[in-house]
């Protein structure tokens, strides 16, 4: 398998401040593969996705590294070419479903717009495809949803709309940023299945950002564990859950609740472990402060 997305030694920091957000991150995702990015809030999971899609916040600068999409070095391209390359091949399922949708437009055109703009489809064909996609994400009444404004939909419905629209233009890479957090577990289960099917059918590569190790174990083939912008461990799912190598990974797993086990309660990740990891990172990356 050749990698569809390759990130090599990517470092990014806050401009004019010596605060590192990503530290020599390397990872690759093959076509048809789902790669999980896990870690606590603020670890830089979304940043990696944003860097890949060329939408890093203006306050951040990439210090070094390469991002190759389908063999093309994105960072070496002119911005306009980069936007075109990314727009044609990649899509995002964003973390915040309400803000990602334009509140003053109906849902329909927000899905079909991509098809018309990117693929040059005519409006009728785009409309039919949008309805099909909404039905695929288990929306009971696609017509009503297409004609609704975002505020008229429940949180989970909005999230499904965004999943449908990410798949609309058949992208080769999808960055899914916490795509199921607003869903109840039964819908989440259906959607994870669906993402797996759609992604396998189309050979889509996926970066799957989540803090939920239960979800990761169901959808990903490989994962990277992040802390303070650094990849601490990379493994296949089977390896990771059978034998997590890094002390932080073990602490994270230990802190994950299991409802089946009544004794298990929600506890924070052991701070003696995180203090140690933070000290290690700071010692290696001398002079660069941790983001947290």
């Amino acid at each position: 398998m050749t990698a569809f997305l390759e990130i090599e030694n990517l470092s990014a920091s806050l401009k004019r401040q010596r605060v590192r957000m990503l530290r020599s991150v390397s990872l690759s995702v093959a076509a048809g593969e789902v790669h999980g990015l896990v870690g606590e809030s603020g670890a830089g999971k979304s940043m990696i996705g944003k860097a890949v899609l060329g939408i890093l916040p203006a306050a951040l600068a990439i210090d070094e590294g390469e991002i190759r999409l389908d063999g093309e070095d994105l960072l070496a391209m002119r911005p306009a070419d980069r936007r075109r390359a990314i727009g044609a091949k990649a899509a995002l399922i964003p973390q915040d479903p309400l803000t990602a949708l334009n509140p003053s437009h109906c849902i329909g055109p927000q899905i079909t717009g991509r098809l018309v703009d990117i693929l040059g489809w005519d409006k009728r064909k785009a409309d039919m495809r949008a309805r099909e996609l909404l039905a695929e994400v288990n929306i009971d009444d696609p017509d009503r949803v297409m004609a609704s404004y975002p505020f008229e939909l429940s949180g989970g419905m909005r999230q499904r709309v965004l999943i449908a629209s990410a798949f609309a233009a058949n992208p080769k890479l999808i960055v899914a940023d916490e795509p199921t957090t607003a869903l109840d577990v039964t819908v989440q289960k259906q959607i994870l299945k669906l993402i797996r099917e759609m992604q396998a059918r189309h050979g889509t590569a996926m970066l799957f950002v989540t803090h939920d190790l239960g979800v990761v174990s169901k959808i990903c083939q490989r994962l990277s564990v992040l802390y303070a912008g650094k990849v601490l461990e990379q493994a296949t799912i089977a390896e990771f859950f059978a034998d997590p190598k890094h002390a932080y990974s073990r602490a994270l797993l230990a802190a994950t609740p299991k409802y089946t086990d009544p004794g298990s309660s929600l506890v924070p990740v052991d701070s003696s472990v995180t203090d140690l990891v933070a000290a290690e990172i700071e010692a290696v990356d001398e002079g660069w402060r941790l983001a947290r």
Partner: protein, 263 residues
């Protein structure tokens, strides 16, 4: 604290509105009857679109019920006007599902928390903001940042800080920890537990995460398509669920195990 009986809520169905005349209505909540006692933590679970958020908004009288009654501390608030509701508003706070959209993008975090305090004429605002940030585990330096400069989890905690800064009696929390990692979840849940214990806060907690519900709530309401299918103590929900839908919910929880059955 709350007594709800025969609560119906219908919203106009704009989409299927005829050219002339009134829009037909979609029935969203159907005959809900339940109580919430003072100091209790009640969990509300149910499928996407089942009406959880709508129920929350109706309790807080952001929507006016179409039928039935809602009373708050013995007072019927079903059809109170906005002016009559105003003194009650500070005492009932809601923390929203979508953190980004409920935070003003043009205001720094400190102001986002301070504004409603000023609106209600409270004093010592700066100190209240400090305390609220500290409560939710956000560093004080964050008060000068804007919402888009925070991670998703940090934004969610700002929403909680804004609600608790008002020192309300009742908080309705709508999916507030689903975007958080385990450490921040544990921290927020500890915080909510403490507020319930120390301040006698009453909490309605909407979540689809049953591990969280188990940890936090004493009673659980299961909603399915606008109706209550089960309302029982938390142990019963987990150990001997009565409704088929409750069992379905339990079976769909992904455990951190790649070999889990039926997945």
């Amino acid at each position: 604290m709350f007594k709800v009986s025969g609560l119906d809520l219908a919203l106009p169905d704009r989409v299927n509105r005829p050219l002339i005349g009134k829009a037909p209505e979609i029935q969203i909540l159907k005959g809900l009857t339940f109580d919430i006692s003072s100091g209790e933590v009640i969990g509300i679970v149910g499928g996407s679109g089942s009406g959880k958020s709508t129920l929350g908004r109706t309790l807080l009288r952001l929507y006016e019920p179409t039928a039935g009654t809602v009373s708050f501390e013995g007072r019927d608030i079903t059809h109170l006007s906005e002016a009559e509701l105003r003194p009650l508003r500070r005492r009932m706070q809601m923390v929203f599902q979508d953190p980004m959209s409920s935070l003003n993008p043009r205001r720094p975090i400190g102001a986002i928390i301070a504004d409603p305090l000023a609106l209600h004429g409270l004093d010592g605002i700066s100190a209240r903001v400090d305390r609220a940030l500290d409560h939710v585990g956000l560093p004080n330096a964050l008060r000068h940042r804007y919402p888009h400069e925070l991670s998703g989890g940090q934004r969610q905690r700002v929403g909680i800080a804004r609600a608790i800064a008002m020192e309300p009696d009742f908080i309705l929390a709508d999916e507030i920890v689903s975007g958080l990692d385990v450490s921040s979840q544990a921290q927020v849940l500890n915080l909510l537990e403490n507020l319930v214990d120390e301040l006698g806060l009453t909490l309605a907690f909407i979540s689809h995460d049953l591990s969280v519900i188990r940890r936090l709530c004493s009673r659980v309401m299961v909603l399915y398509r606008g109706e209550i299918v089960e309302l029982a103590p938390v142990e019963q929900i987990f150990d001997a669920p009565k409704a088929a839908y409750t069992r379905e919910l339990l079976d769909a929880i992904p455990l951190p195990d790649p070999n889990q059955k039926n997945w």
